[in-house]
Amino acid sequence: MHEFLAQLINGISLGSIYALIALGYTMVYGIIGLINFAHGDVYTLGSFFSLAILGLLGATGELHGPALVIDAGLALFGAALLCGIAGVLIERLAYRRLRNAPRLAPLITAIGVSFILENAMQVWKGPSPVPFPAILPNPAVTVAGVAISLQQFVVVGLAIATMLALQLFVHGTRVGRAMRATAQDRDAAQLMGIDINKTIAITFLIGSALAGVAGFVSGVYYQSTWFFNGFGAGLKAFTAAVLGGIGNLAGAMLGGFLIGIVESFATWLLGGQWSNVAVFAILILALVFRPSGLLGETLPEKV
């Protein structure tokens, strides 16, 4: 039972990272119908950016008091901002021209962008995993006999706070309404006076910034990062988005937590080498049997 709870908490922490990444997939898919394959690499970019910012601030070990708030805050917001900019640039340079192209062309381009980003990061920090400073003090709290670390609280708390902010933004602001309108019907939205290019750029900005947050969080949580992390994490987050119902924000969060929990239980019960097989099997099963996802609605095929 202890082990069960411990794995559950593990899975939720892991899942909150996937959920943050999945939001970016689902937003972009919702608005332009593109599987942004490079999104996972933007997430890795986020951990690299926060690493670089912490390096500039001279934060190499555990931080306390004001230094913790300032340095961690700068790394978090810096990574989110830089990733957001990267996302906007990627959309502008690689995807915008292909908005009306045959459907597979943008996907192939996105795979290309992913490879370019991976190569850039490999050149930047080398081919091996890079250590990430353990900036958080790490006292564990014992709840019902299960130790929960401060890192896990921070990871889950940050993720939930970000998701709430996103919900408020998308459902409570003018820009959010423009995003929803564009996702529903791009031409009609344009006729209503919405600047489509700006709205899509903002979607990429927010989605990529969330990936940047996830990158920072994963660095703090794992205390290591690697140029190739984004491939696996991105695929799992995409699985989460599909499982929850692609285009649906709440679904992406739900899917993220579920995938995190599945991965952590598969690692516990079957061994780490089977966890990827389990997650990808879910991806295939979800796409084949319920492509609309858990919370998505079934749409008639557009002809």
Partner: protein, 358 residues
């Protein structure tokens, strides 16, 4: 010296596809074929044939993937899985692993059949999907297969794989360590693959593939059995990869799971995209160009850089090259460098959003 082979082959294909006369075209291809067959009389450097045999395996893979992606329009991002299945077939049935030593020539057929079978197994559940969802499912499959080979340590040797595979032999003459026999095997398989791909394209089945590529719904309403047609594309495409896997494993005398990662699938997709999806000569040129870059140009650039004291490892730029090809071609020349006339027209005038699936 090795450059001559690649550049000559590429030049002949490009020129032959441009000449208007059918006779001249046939003559050019016949000359290329004869030159490739007779080359070992002049060039006795076995390392050249090593590179060329590898290139041949990739040409074969590209021809197979072209059936799935180029003809039928089903983007398969897990093609390396079938390559792995072919290679492991040889690895497990012609090595000390289980003490089974079946002949190479038999295993070519076995692997092609097994890969085709797995093509159907993968294809069957994905029939309802199309476009990008199909691509992602095949990617998932492509990730699972090498992982399973890695995990089943008792059968597959785990992460280390299986080594000391049998040398194939031809009427009692062992291939030994030389690359030359593999060069001839890949030439023969490419000739077979080219003939097969060409005839399939012109056949009723081939036209059905192109019909579902252009518009699946319309194709179904014209009476095409889309289930059968899609499955046959997966099966036939995969069988090429099974053949390639056997030759690859036998030549390397080794199989291990890390040889069949996602990058291999993307490399082959890049070959197609570069040359022109759906056009056989284009695909051959695309795969020749990329193998030339990968196994000749980059290592030589490294040697050159270190000779002038420059510390750049060009071979760590593979990802960048594949990525730049995919992005650049899709943005600026989506029909590829050597497209068929028909395809170029289609892609240039495909303006209707959403409903045209390449």
């Amino acid at each position: 010296m090795i450059y001559i082979y690649f550049l000559a082959a590429i030049a002949v294909v490009v020129v032959a596809e441009r000449v208007p006369s059918v006779g001249a075209k046939r003559a050019l291809y016949a000359a290329l074929g004869a030159a490739l067959l007779l080359a070992p009389l002049v060039d006795r450097n076995d390392s050249d044939y090593n590179v060329l045999a590898d290139a041949g395996v990739f040409v074969l893979l590209a021809l197979g993937l072209n059936i799935v992606v180029g003809f039928a329009g089903l983007l398969d991002l897990g093609y390396a899985a079938f390559f792995a299945i072919g290679a492991y077939t040889y690895g497990m049935l012609a090595s000390p692993q289980f003490g089974i030593h079946l002949p190479f020539w038999v295993l070519l057929f076995v692997a092609a059949a097994l890969a085709a079978l797995f093509g159907i197994i993968l294809g069957a559940p994905t029939l309802r999907l199309h476009g990008d969802y199909l691509a992602i499912v095949t990617l998932g499959f492509g990730e699972i297969v090498p992982q399973i080979f890695q995990n089943l340590t008792a059968y597959t040797g785990g992460p280390n794989g299986i080594s000391a595979l049998d040398f194939p032999s031809f009427f009692g003459h062992s291939f030994g360590q030389r690359a030359l026999p593999y060069y001839y095997v890949t030439l023969a398989l490419i000739a077979l693959g080219l003939a097969l791909a060409r005839n399939l394209r012109e056949s009723r089945l081939g036209r059905a593939w192109m019909a579902i590529r252009e518009d699946e719904l319309a194709a179904r309403h014209m009476g095409i059995n889309t289930t059968l047609v899609k499955l046959s594309a997966f099966a036939l495409g995969a069988s090429f990869s099974g053949l390639g896997g056997v030759v690859f494993a036998a030549k390397l005398s080794l199989v291990s799971p890390d040889l069949f990662q996602f990058q291999v699938s993307v490399l082959i997709v890049s070959m197609l995209v570069l040359g022109g999806m759906g056009n056989i000569p284009g695909v051959v040129v695309g795969s020749l160009v990329l193998t030339l870059v990968n196994s000749v140009v980059l290592p030589q650039a490294n040697a050159l850089a270190s000779a002038v004291g420059l510390h750049v490892d060009f071979s760590s730029y593979h990802f960048f090259i594949y990525g730049a090809i995919l992005v650049g071609i899709m943005l600026f020349k989506p029909e590829g460098l050597l497209p068929s006339v028909q395809r170029r027209e289609e892609l240039r005038h495909a303006t209707a959003p959403q409903d045209v699936r390449a």
